[in-house]
């Protein structure tokens, strides 16, 4: 093989996906034989009602997915041995039934674990807590919003709606330095986001649609990774975690429109008070088409050319304060911004923003049942402000 051909091969994401699977196969051959099966079941249910008032001749449904919503998940895990396990999880929400997990874990040692199948790639801190029984609020932070935010259609939801589930392979591990410092890492190659050839943003419906049979729409895997460090100061009753994540890929069938994501996150626990903060950013290319002037709301830049991308970033800061064994108070401040040209039909401007203020709490009824009550205030740059109130009952199975 010529050097140039070999270099081309190394740049092809498909090569790395294939090489990873070959490596896993080799490791599986030399790993211990399966010793049996432990079948485990867990799940959660959250039923909620979100109130947003009708206004200006519009029903709230025109601006949000208000009203009753039930989210459910059910997971079956099978441990074949201490090194091999399989997980399958079914989720039900606004979008109907979806496969949230269907993967095999091969754990060689703590520092080397392979995950193959359909899973949530390691990106950000919130993905691990996306289940409504695990996070403390009634909805997700705006950067991870998957449809509960007001004006979700105009904003096309968050930066990476959680849970982001995809097909692929992930290598990761964890290592403790002494008893206080835990370092975690993961790299993965997955199918990646989806959209159209003339796309102007990611198409999140295509992303989760079973109608496409969860196939990669452009035969080019995306890639990413995460690195985090946790400092556990048990004597001082404090824990701190910092993390950074990144992802890159293309979303159109022609494999020409790229996206790149980056994020940083911080967690601090002091006694039982928890503070979390994350910042995420996505740069997304769009198709200018043959006549950008007819396609986009704003004209070219000073250089006479149209930009072929937009930036979307967002953040959240959250505090969870237990005031008794049964009651938790939660405060959250989150927001989104979008910079870049918009389609002529969009209600957004070249620079748009939304800030949201959330306050509420949860009361445990015991036996795994909690009631959550929250109020939210939206401050939009392009729309009238909104107030939403949500009551939810959540239970673990």
């Amino acid at each position: 093989m010529k050097h140039s051909s070999f270099r081309t091969l190394l740049r092809d994401a498909r090569f790395w996906a294939l090489a990873s699977l070959a490596l896993v196969t080799l490791l599986a051959v030399v790993s211990p034989f399966a010793e049996g099966q432990d079948r485990n079941i867990a799940g959660s249910v959250q039923g909620s009602y979100m109130y947003l008032h009708d206004r200006d001749g519009q029903t709230a449904r025109d601006r949000s997915l208000d009203g009753f919503i039930t989210e459910m998940s059910l997971k079956i895990a099978v441990d074949f041995s201490d090194h091999i396990s399989t997980n399958v999880k079914i989720c039900f929400g606004c979008h109907g039934f979806e496969v949230g997990m269907a993967y095999v874990d091969l754990t060689i040692v703590d520092e080397a674990r392979f995950r193959i199948g359909r899973f949530s790639p390691s990106f950000g801190d919130f993905q691990l807590r996306h289940d409504p029984a695990n996070h403390r609020t009634v909805d997700k932070p705006l950067p991870y919003d998957m449809g509960r935010m007001a004006r979700l259609r105009e904003w096309n939801m968050g930066i990476v709606p959680a849970p982001y589930v995809d097909n692929g392979i992930e290598f990761g591990g964890t290592h403790w330095f002494g008893t206080q410092l835990q370092v975690d890492y993961a790299v993965y190659t997955v199918g990646g986001f989806r959209g159209d050839n003339d796309g102007q943003d990611i198409d999140w419906i295509q992303q989760r649609s079973g109608g496409a049979y969860y196939l990669d729409n452009n035969s080019r895997p995306a890639g990413g990774g995460r690195l985090s460090a946790t400092l556990d100061l048990a004597d001082a009753d404090m824990t701190y975690t910092i993390g950074a994540s990144g992802m890159y890929g293309t979303y159109d069938p022609n494999n020409t429109l790229s996206y790149a994501l980056g994020g940083v996150d911080v967690y601090a626990r002091i006694n039982r008070v928890e503070l979390r903060a994350e910042y995420l950013m996505r740069r997304t290319e769009f198709n200018l088409g043959d006549d950008p002037g007819a396609r986009f709301k704003y004209g070219p830049g000073k250089n006479g050319k149209y930009d072929n991308f937009f930036l979307k970033d967002g953040f959240y800061v959250e505090a969870v304060v237990p005031v008794s064994q049964r009651i938790e108070l939660v405060g959250r401040w989150d927001g989104l911004r979008r910079f870049g040209n918009v389609p002529v039909t969009s209600a957004l401007r070249k620079e748009s923003a939304v800030l949201r203020y959330t306050a509420g709490g949860a009361v445990s009824l015991g036996y795994g049942v909690r009631i959550k009550v929250f109020g939210e205030y939206y401050d939009f740059s392009d729309f009238k402000d909104e107030i939403a109130a949500t009551v939810a009952v959540v239970s673990v199975l």
Binding site: Q182, A234, E274, S324, Q325, G331, L355, Y367
Partner: protein, 145 residues
Amino acid sequence: MSTELTLWFGGIALLTTACGGAQVNASKVELPAEVGELPADLEDDYRVFATNCSKCHGLERPLTAPVTDHGHWERYVARMMRTPGSGISAAEAPNILAFLFWYTDKRAGRSNENPEPAPAVIEQPAAPAPQPEPAPAVAPQGEGT
């Protein structure tokens, strides 16, 4: 954004933090009625359990999990130690297990007069020792459900 709203939100945050900070240490441990009160010598173990396990999920996850044998808890906690960012060190795992052993035995109506001690050290590697009995079911937590 109005300054008033920022002040309003900031005020609520400060108030809740103040209330929480003042009361958390004094909060009484409330466990299911059939378990009874937590023995004084397990209060530190419970605190380690509560602070570590609540990072990724509510405490109702482990407290309602249908785990009935100690071996299953050892595998369970070993798995949680491998969860990214869990912060559960080898030094803390015995505390968590001591509480879970007591809790499980009380729920099952088993005597706690001569409790089986939790392992002094939990090994970090991926492979806890195989268990002689098949364990009843509970899924690993911390990844959604």
